[in-house]
Assembly symmetry: C2
Homo-oligomer: 671 residues x 2
């Protein structure tokens, strides 16, 4: 089952032949990725339930509407979707039901450019659950869950993003009335970006600088009502609207928000951790690390999301490359499928490999997150810094690599990839956004680098190291000599050597600069280009190792394992070649080794070639989720491009009004 | 003068301070780039004339309109623009007037997402002039020039782009009626992409396979009427419409076109080169290379265009980075300007350098194009292959580097770069399109590689070499030994060594594969990843050398020359580090050399830092052309972001209709 809307065309022959060539069973891969045959069935049933519903489809594609119409249509569809979630769960809805529908593949099938209610479920409710005390949870989560109120999460301001301490919105406690007074003291203090804030939500969790008894205690969360529950009119003192169009995500209704002495009851401060007593006394949280949880959760989920988006892009580009025939490889012969060009394979297959690399890393991160969070509950904070360091660099590398991968896939489809109907531009819009939100990537890598510099210090002074940096122990006091071994295990070792070599070099450069009279802050800044690179190297070594581990530990048929092992080797060899200078400098590789890895990598492309379509088929992304003229199961690329073009409202009339109104008068005037 | 619409705000203080720090006179740079003080004045006067006109501005920004409204608005503004060109030239218009207004900076200020009439001037008229005989020129160019007719250029089809020989549209000559009969024999033969084809043009130059006397003679150009001149209705047999929305360029009205036995007179075949006589006899062109001219012209212009687009992006990101303050470098101190972070400098300054690199290469290419074309006129085809090879690789490298540069600038602006009002998403849309149009980049690089393989063969057999590949002579028979010298001259030599080393390696790999029994076509395909890379290395060596030559030959003050020399070194050191593996393998660099180049590159960032704003000020791009909330001259970033957001039609009403219509009924039902 690859389409739930009943629309079928005969399959393209080239694509059919590709499917016959496959050496493994794509369905086995599907089950593996879903986590079992029963999970596959469950997912497909859920998709069938939602995607066969005509009410959730558009007559005129979103991209032809005005910005305002897009918003109104997204609210209409989001409401229809909620109704359906409710139906499916037999009333009341379920956390899982909402999550499945709002996030991930299914959500993007219905609302492909964002959902104005997303933050209600993804941030508003979870923040109240994570930061509210028991009474607050009971009151607010109930109301939010019933959708008596719709909330969002207002943190970022015009003047401040990743650097949270710099936020300027203030909440002053007034003990006389037992209220907080919220203000936006400057233009840069206006909240800016929260999804659903523009015209959708009537409540928000607002992050503001808490002032009480003449002292500022830093950023704390407050529940603030924005609009009247009955009329939806903005309340007095609330300055609110949407921030305008963006590169993508134009249906998320991102908004701005200013406060002019807005009063809220004391009870609206979320008080699970810190508290303000009635008289204004501030009671500090036992640990300020307890608020890290939600931020890390979002980053963990992001890595998973990136692999999903990428899987769509590679499915589209791979199928299209099997269908598209172009140019002349040998005189007189039929035009080849472009997937037979090695340069095309070099664009596609490393991104298929990247999908698995991100997917397996996301799994690891999810498991670590869960165990660290449960340790946290029992007061054990030991592994928090390591989780923080890995979530930062994986967030940065996953978003950047996925964005580059999606663009490579788009460009691999030539001009047709530029068409909105390929869906590749929209996927890029969603992926590239993640490079700057939830922690800007360079800042993220520098956070990891700080952890690595500390770890190097511990290694050098022979102190205990946590698992992800244990490899530094061996690197201390060793040079870059050693041999570069051209096996998968040899490559993994080489990746760790590169990371260790770069970390060591950064540490030396920092020390040299400090000895030379620079402050440690200046030395840090001066070394930061290399620090970013060492965090990336660390992350990539980690990804390669986890990929290889996962492949050898999975329970699969030999046929599927062979394919996964090829992809793992492809990821590893590809990045050796991309960073060949590092391997020559730090891992004992010789120029001849690089040439050998090039041949190895090329041989992998040849091995993967017959299975390429089978692998992306195994992702089991139905046509309604792909939403792509170039990527559909049947490969009827040209017919679908044409059919989509006919949906353009401009094509409904033989002559547009602009001819009579503007062109004819001008041209008759005989310029 | 930096704004022509009279809107002024007090300048941001940080930006003012930056301007005071500058060590050279930005106006000198402006004059240098314009080609003299008088040219600067001329350009500014022209901008003043067009950009002070309120009729050419939008009340509601384009991005809020529906696709159809965008088209109608673009026709309205394009017509107003034509009227104004006509006024300015005192009636009749001028080639230069149209070119200045349609292409380049001024055109994009008025119509920022494409102009539906562009191909009329850029392709339709030039093709008739280049490929029509004298009578055809006299008749058609006159009508086109008066805008009695509006034309486009229809080459690309649904199924064929870069590989022109594969086009399927047919033109059969019928000697009985002395007409050509045009047909679209398949769905894939439908024309697809031509700008202005959808609802705008009434004529087109159509490229079709010419059949006469039972024989096919390949692709030839025909003038075909598409729509009635009075009513604008499509003529019988003409199937026409627009292809739908795209990643960008949504005002170019790209169209599709099919023919059902459409008859045109014999005289409508453009016959300057090949001809079909009345009886159907085909007379071949003396050389099929004569048609190359237009294609190369477009590529030459593209390299220039890319530098213009990039100059906007770096202006925006550099000014924003001077205004934006974020995070804490040293405890207790004011938040630093983000331009003081070395990682930020590393994103911005190499792209400032890239602008000059592309600009100077474009100048060189333009000069070569002109001299080769005049040689061509006198029958001398000798330098054509070299011009072809350089225009191909420069097209590919310029578009790819500019696209990456624009995205880096956008991401360097954090979340705000994602806003449409930053103008960075739109600039990216225009630039990335050029990676696949006018010759897909990988195909382009492989064309250059073919030239390089031949050149290596000539060098190895001691035959004459043309100037751009003369360096191969020394590389024959030499290994990769030699020393890597850390001077600018040393780097240039190293770049040539890298290119030669990679070309030699490709040649060896090709030969080894052929000896191993592969056909030369298969060997070519198997070596193609490396072939692409050797074409890129060749191109980059060329760019570095021309950059250095230009800097030393320009007549400037010492202060400006110092700045340009720093940027030249930055470009060179930056790409050594990006491709460090190549320099270690082929140019005798040692690991320590790479560390030294890293320090050299970092020292250049420090030197450029105080002049960064001055340099982009020197580009002299007025606010109306920049169209960016983040990049305006006065640096009032936050106020402008806010002002733009208020223009969103969603912000005109306190409550959107979707609340009463969709949200309230659903939520009242108590999910």
């Amino acid at each position: 089952m690859t389409s739930y809307s009943g629309r079928t065309m005969k399959c393209n022959e080239d694509l059919e032949n590709e499917r016959k060539k496959c050496t493994f069973d794509p369905l086995e891969l599907t089950h593996l990725l879903d986590g079992g045959e029963d999970k596959t069935k469950e997912r497909r049933d859920r998709q069938q339930f939602f995607l066969s519903d005509a009410e959730l489809r558009d007559d005129v594609p979103n991209e032809y509407l005005s910005h305002k119409e897009k918003f109104e249509n997204s609210i209409k569809k989001a409401c229809a979707l909620f109704k359906k979630v409710n139906e499916s769960s037999g009333g009341g809805g379920s956390v899982d039901g909402y999550r499945q529908v709002l996030g991930g593949m299914l959500g993007s099938a219905v609302l492909n450019d964002g959902n104005p209610f997303a933050l209600h479920f993804v941030m508003f409710i979870p923040t109240i659950m994570g930061q509210g005390n028991v009474e607050q949870q009971a009151y607010w989560v109930g109301r939010a869950w019933n959708c008596d109120i719709i909330g969002t999460y207002a943190q970022t301001e015009l003047g401040h993003g990743t650097f949270i301490r710099g936020l300027e919105t203030t909440a002053h406690y007034d003990p006389k009335t037992k209220e907080f007074v919220l203000n936006s003291p400057t233009l840069t203090s206006y909240k800016w970006w929260p999804g659903g804030l523009g015209q959708t939500a009537n409540y928000a969790v607002v992050m503001a600088q808490l002032h009480t008894k003449g002292k500022c205690h830093g950023i704390h969360p407050f529940i603030v009502q924005l609009r009247d529950e009955e009329t939806h009119h903005p309340l007095p003192g609330i300055v609110i609207g949407e921030i305008g169009t963006k590169l993508g995500m134009n249906c998320t209704n991102n908004g701005y928000l200013g406060f002019k002495s807005v009063r809220i009851p004391r009870e609206n401060m979320l008080m699970k951790n810190s508290q303000v007593l009635e008289d204004g006394t501030y009671v500090k949280s036992p640990s300020d690390k307890l608020t890290y949880g939600t931020m890390m959760f979002v980053r963990v989920v992001l890595v998973q999301d990136m692999s999903s988006h990428l899987s769509k892009a590679v499915t589209i580009a791979t199928r299209y490359s099997a269908v598209r025939r172009q140019s002349e490889m040998k005189a007189g012969q039929r035009e080849p499928q472009i997937i037979d060009y090695v340069t095309q394979q070099y664009k596609l297959f490393p991104n298929i490999a990247l999908y698995f690399a991100l997917r397996f890393s996301a799994n690891w991160l999810w498991e670590m997150y869960n165990s660290v969070t449960s340790e946290l509950e029992s007061g054990d904070l030991e592994r928090l810094p390591e989780l923080h360091a890995m979530s930062c660099c994986l967030k940065a590398v996953a978003t950047a690599d996925a964005a580059a991968g999606v663009e490579t896939c788009r460009l691999a489809c030539g001009g047709h990839g530029y068409m909105t109907s390929s869906n590749l531009p929209c996927i890029y819009g969603l992926v590239t956004a993640a490079c700057t939100y939830e922690g800007e990537n360079t800042v993220m890598l520098l956070q990891t680098a700080r952890f690595l510099m500390k770890a190097w210090g511990l290694a050098a002074s022979n102190q205990a190291l946590t698992p992800t940096v244990a490899y530094l122990r061996q690197a201390v006091g060793r040079g870059s000599e050693g041999t570069f071994e051209k096996t998968m295990q040899g490559l993994i070792r080489a990746y760790w050597q590169v990371a260790a070599g770069k970390i060591k070099l950064c540490h030396q450069d920092m020390e040299r600069r400090i000895r030379g009279g620079y402050s440690s802050e200046d030395a840090w800044n001066m070394t930061s280009i290399e620090l970013v690179q060492c965090a990336e190297s660390h992350c990539r070594a980690f990804i390669v190792e986890k990929f290889a581990e996962r492949v050898s530990s999975l329970e699969t048929s030999d046929a599927l394992r062979a394919v996964l092992a090829q992809l793992c080797e492809l990821y590893a060899t590809y990045w050796v070649l991309q960073r060949s200078g590092d391997f020559l400098r730090f891992a004992g590789a010789k120029p001849q080794d690089i040439e050998d890895v090039q041949l190895w990598m090329e041989s992998l492309l040849t091995l993967i070639r017959p299975n390429a379509v089978g692998i992306v088929d195994g992702f089991d992304i139905c046509d309604e989720i792909l939403r792509s003229t170039l990527g559909s199961w049947d490969g009827q690329v040209y017919q679908r491009l044409f059919d989509e073009a006919l949906k353009s409202p401009l094509n409904r009339e033989p002559v547009n009004m602009s001819f009579k109104k503007y062109m004819q008068p001008l041209f008759k005037s005989n310029l």
